[in-house]
């Protein structure tokens, strides 16, 4: 009977606090991840939205090609009308 009571005391004084402490630690760690993941999701969504402008690179590419072609035509004309050094 004494051993039984000792077991009860150990269960209530040692095992229950240890179990509660460990479970609280796991829960706190899991809950701390949630806001971080939400922030990452927001940043990723914003980054994806920012990249919507990459389609304009095709326009830039076309404009650069036209500009370089115009400069080449202009340079060719200058090459004809101006003397060499």
């Amino acid at each position: 009977m004494i051993l039984w009571w000792i077991g009860d005391v150990v269960l209530l004084v040692v095992v229950v606090p240890v179990v509660v402490y460990l479970l609280r630690g796991v829960l706190a760690a899991a809950q701390s991840i949630v806001p971080t993941v939400r922030k990452i999701a927001g940043v990723a969504a914003d980054g994806s939205k920012d990249l919507d402008a990459t389609a304009l690179l095709l326009t830039t590419q076309d404009q650069v090609a036209r500009t370089v072609a115009g400069v080449a035509d202009y340079g060719g004309s200058l090459d004809v009308i101006l003397d060499d050094a």
């Binding site: 479970l23 999701a41 994806s48 590419q61 200058l78 101006l82 050094a85």
Partner: protein, 201 residues
Amino acid sequence: MPAAGYVMVVAVVLIVLALVYYLVSTIVALRQITSGLDDVIASVGEIVEKSAPVAEVVTTINAQLDAGVDMLEALLVKKAGLGDSMGLVDGLYPGAAAAGLRNFPESGTLTPPRIGEVYTKGTLTLARLGREAPIAAASPSGPAVRDAAAASSSARRLYPDGREYGAEALPRSPVIGTDAPVQYEQRDDIGRPRKRRPTRA
């Protein structure tokens, strides 16, 4: 059952209740994490999809710009000569001549003539169009002043002995500006009424 048995049953029930509470809370948190990660994966997938063609497009743009730079450098050196080219570049963008032209490695070692310290930026711009600039009329819509067919003869009239003849023996262009080694006195009668001579009786 003795009293100690009831106490043990209560302790076990407490442990089970704590396990249930904390594990359920952890499951809820993990579900929220999973939902957030799903959103992250979706957004990252969009980023990957949208940025995929960027490298190819930028490479193409760079190649086109490289061709333009090569052409303009070659034209500038062909028309103005390497030395004057570096002087023009340094005049328009001070310090840029030190980097030299990309396709003319020896240009970085040249001492650029101090063109920019004597002539204005507008003059340099005209000079880039040719030594006999301006080639356009007073009005941009008017006919060209310079006769393209007789350009060689007009250049020879300006430089009958050739431009580079004796150029090494000539003094360098004067340096002007607030930090010039020689500061010229400023006339104080500029802008004032002209001095009148005393009238003769």
